[in-house]
Every structure is written in C-alpha cells, then in structure tokens.
C-alpha cells in the first residue's frame, strides 16, 4: 500500500483521536467542578475554578467507603485472575497434550458452555450461594468465576502449537507430566497468560451485576457497586456529581495503568494466540 502520510488521513485520524479522547477530558473537567456546576451546567467541559479537593472529599464526605471498596476490588480481581489462569493452564495443557480417555467429548462440553453467559445464570447462582450462606463473602465473588471455558480454550490452542520434541525428550528421561507442565510449558505460556490476564482483570474490575447481586453489605461492595450507588443516590438525594466524577477518575486509574503497561504485549499475544479464533 501507499507509504506517505496523506494530509486527509492525518486530519481524519486527528478528528477521531479528539472524539475518542473527549470523554476523558469531560470526566476530568467534571471531577474538578463544584457539585452545583456539575449538576446544573453539564454543557461546560470545565468550570472557572478547579476544585482538586473533590478527590479528597470522595474519601471523607461520600456516602460510601472508598478505601474498603478499593481493597475489595483488588482482592477479588486478583484472586479471580490468578485462579482462572492456573485452572485454565492446567486443563488447557491436558486437553492439548495428554491423550486421556474421554478427552475429546469432555473438551466439546467445555466448548459448548462458552456460549452461556453469566447474565442467564445469575438466578440459580444466587439461590445456590444464598443457600450456602455465601452472600456477602469473598468466596461468592471469587470461586464461581474461577472456571472459565474461554481461558481453557485459549491455553489449549496455545499449547497445541508448542513443538513436541522437548516435551517428549523430558518424558523419555523419566519426568512426569506435572514436571513438564511446571518447568517447560508454563514458562512458555506468556502469550495466552497475558491475554487472559488483561481480559479477566478488566472484566472483574469493571463488573457490576455479579458484585451487585452477591453483596448487600456496604463493606463487601466493590468500587463499581459504590460508584453505581453514588450515581443513583446522587440523583435522588443530595447531588454530588463532581464527587462521583472524581470517584470514577480514581477507580479508572488502576485499569488504565495496568493497560498502558501491558497493551503492547496484549496486542502481540492477540496476533500470536489468535484471540480472533
């Protein structure tokens, strides 16, 4: 294709870049308004005076407990992410490399469950967890999410592409499958691990439905549940839109930082593991 940068292309790119950046700019502007201005003048991007104290006010004056919710978000997000990767790597390796009886039918069942989203299963899951007394526990937010068929599928597809020679040499030398997995396969599995890490981490950090249904105690809420409450509560009682915006800024910093660090490797791993299928 053509190699020079045509002016039209650059103009189109620039306009799109402005459009895509605008919500972030508006968010920052909103976080620095007074609560009154944020509510009554939503057309303004930024108001005359900047109120950086909003960020502190989120911690002290909000009706919600940001430090606890941040802690809950971190605990559940990291636990689900690492748990999913471990479970999926083990299963993916066996599905790719160990010829055990009944492997292929079992894999097909796993594949079929890929099509069933959580949004269709929350009623039975809620009833199960309520019966076990798991509502308002970390277990409810973590354990049901650990078995992810998509992650298993990704790891399997990756392990299939690893050359067999090294593994066979190790097996002939008397190493067990667990040793092969631990010292050969796991160190190689960077690409699927990065992909699953980013996708699961973001999904768990950003999730609302599960976190909202499985917790009723404010001390068990995650950041998204708290923000949603501030959004709803703010509209009917005392409007604190600027605080809400400041809270969104704070809650968005961890995923954005994580994303900036890993996006390059994510793009590479998409190309390598064929996330596209």
């Amino acid at each position: 294709m053509k190699t020079k940068n045509s002016p039209i292309l650059l103009v189109v790119l620039f306009i799109l870049a402005v459009l895509f950046t605008f919500p972030f700019v508006y968010l920052m502007g909103g976080a620095l308004k007074t609560n009154d201005d944020a509510l009554t003048k939503p057309a303004q991007i930024i108001s005359g005076s900047l109120h950086f104290e909003n960020f502190a006010a989120v911690f002290t004056e909000g009706q919600i407990d940001i430090p606890i919710q941040t802690f809950n978000s971190f605990v559940t997000t990291f636990a689900v992410t690492f748990g999913q990767i471990l479970v999926a790597a083990l299963a993916g390796y066996a599905f790719a490399r160990i010829k055990f009886i009944g492997r292929d039918p079992l894999f097909l069942i796993f594949l079929a469950t890929l099509i069933v989203p959580f949004e269709l299963l929350f009623v039975p899951l809620y009833l199960m967890l309520a019966k076990w007394g798991w509502i308002n526990t970390y277990a409810a937010l973590i354990i049901p999410s650990l078995g992810n068929p998509f992650a298993i599928f990704m790891f399997r597809q990756f392990f299939i592409t690893v050359p067999k020679e090294l593994e066979e040499a190790m097996l002939i030398d008397g190493a067990g499958y667990l040793r092969v997995f631990w010292s050969l396969m796991l160190p190689l599995s960077g690409p699927p691990t990065i992909s699953i890490f980013i996708l699961t981490w973001l999904a768990e950090w950003s999730g609302l439905l599960k976190q909202m249904l499985f917790t009723t105690d404010k001390n068990m809420w995650t950041l998204q549940v708290g923000l949603n409450f501030l959004n709803r509560g703010a509209q009917v009682t005392t409007p604190t839109i600027a605080y809400l915006m400041a809270g969104i800024v704070l809650a968005s910093i961890p995923p954005i930082v994580m994303f900036l660090f890993l996006q390059r490797r994510f793009v590479e791993s998409v190309a390598q593991t064929g996330l596209k299928g």
């Binding site: 919500p23 508006y26 939503p42 010829k99 009623v123």
Partner: protein, 299 residues
Amino acid sequence: MLTAKRLNKFRVTVTGYSFVLPAIILVSIFLLYPIGFVLYISFHEWGILGKPEFVGFDNYVRIFKDKNFWTALGNTAYYLILAVPSQIGIGLLLAFLVNKKNLFARGVFRTIFFIPMSVSFVAAGIIFSWILTATPMSGFLPNLINNLGLQFPLWQTTDPGWAMVMIVLMNTWKSAGYCMVIYLAGLQSINNDYYEAAQIDGVKNDWQMFRFITWPLLAPTTFLLIVSTTIFTVRGFEPIFVMTQGGPAGATTTLVYYIFKKFPNLMGVSSAAAIFLLLAIIMLTAVQYWGNRHSEKYY
C-alpha cells in the same frame, strides 16, 4: 506387553483427569448445574421468599403472552443491529488508519483508540449520560447541536427511540478499539505478495485494493468478530442499567434486562425468558456459522 500398555494408558488417563479436575469441578458446579437449575426454575412458580411450585409450561405461556417480552425481543434486535456493525465498522476504519508502518505518532493513536476498553461500563455509562443528557439540563452534545439550530432528541423522556442510540454511542467508544486490535492482527497476517500481484494485474487505487484483496482476506476475522460481538452485545446488562435502566417507557429493556427485572419476585418467569434467550443465542450462532459455511480460509 499388552497389559503394560493398558496400564500405561490407565496411568495417562488418571494424570489427564487430575490436570482437568479443578476445571471439571468448577465448570460443573458453577456452569453446567446452573443451566439445569434454570431449566428447573422455569417450570416452577418461585418468589425469593416462597417455595417452588410446579406449574408446567405456565411461565413460558406467560412470557409469550406478555407484550413487554416481545418488545424486549425487538429491543434486543434493535440493539444488535445498531451496536454490532458500528463497533466492527469503526474498528476496521481505525485499524486501516493506524496500520501504515511510517504513520506519525502511530503508537499514540493506537493507545488513544484502544484505551477506552479499560474503562468500566459503569464509568463510561455515567460519563456519557452527562455528555448526552438532554433533560432537564442540556449536556455538552445536546447544547452544541441545539446551538446549531437543530433539535437534539429528548432521549430520556419523549424520544424513547433514540435512547438505544445513546447507549450504542457509549458502547462503540468503549469497544471499537478491541475490534481495531483484532483487525490489525488480521491485516498483518495478509501476505504482501497479494498486493504486489494485484498491482501487476492492474488494480490501481486503494479502494480497489481494499475491495478485491483486503476485505475478502479479512473475511475470517470479520466473521469471528461478528460472532463474538453479537454474544457480547446480547448479554449487555451494565450499559443499559447504568444509562437508562431499561427506559424510557421500556424502550431500552432488552431480554437480558427483562430477565433481570423479573428477579427476585418472578424467578420462574425470569428463568423461562433466560431459557428462551439461551436457545435464541444458540440459533443465532448456528445461523451465523451456517451463513459462513462457504467462505474459505485464505491464509
């Protein structure tokens, strides 16, 4: 010898299952069993405080007679028709724009288009609600449009048909970058020889290159994006919950939102709708694969 072989096979099978065991347990308890449980609940009348009472197909009859259910089905289709092509189309456009090797500030542009993906739907929904709010105060965009002498639709009140468009705007902003990244991977896997051969064969401009080389070669990528974004869009709960709560006047109540609203008082009805939606998703995916059956993998 034969017994040794059989013993080995046995040992391999035990090893295999021990690797898969955690996954089997988790998927069985938290995915397979709940699927059966939804089916069970769908045949019962069950409020959160009461006991389940078997009612046969009553819940199904009930949703099929419910006008709101059919509206929700229509809204889901409307949401799909708006959201899937817009994120894939804009994703493709973005991929094209940032694919050129010597592009000025290429990495910065990529990051700008990709990074909205890291913002949660709660955050994105709230930001867009305030940018787009038309009543009682005008937000940034309505203000701009109204100043141009046009009338921005009152999507929260009297123009319910526009509410879905606003949700789709937010969704596209958040999701187009993902489609861009997938398309970039697809573009990079296209062998340059095709373009050179096409040039020799007399393909002149960029549009023809796109029409006759790039687009057909990207077909597998496009297909997989259609399948995956369809499922992702159908299951969308947060965008609607945060921006409109299914309103105004039920105009953005999709099937997933309908299922959510029937919980916890009418769990049987909710579950019947969930089973219906599950079958619909399976059929939709099957139709998509069927429609794609003749296409070939080129690379």
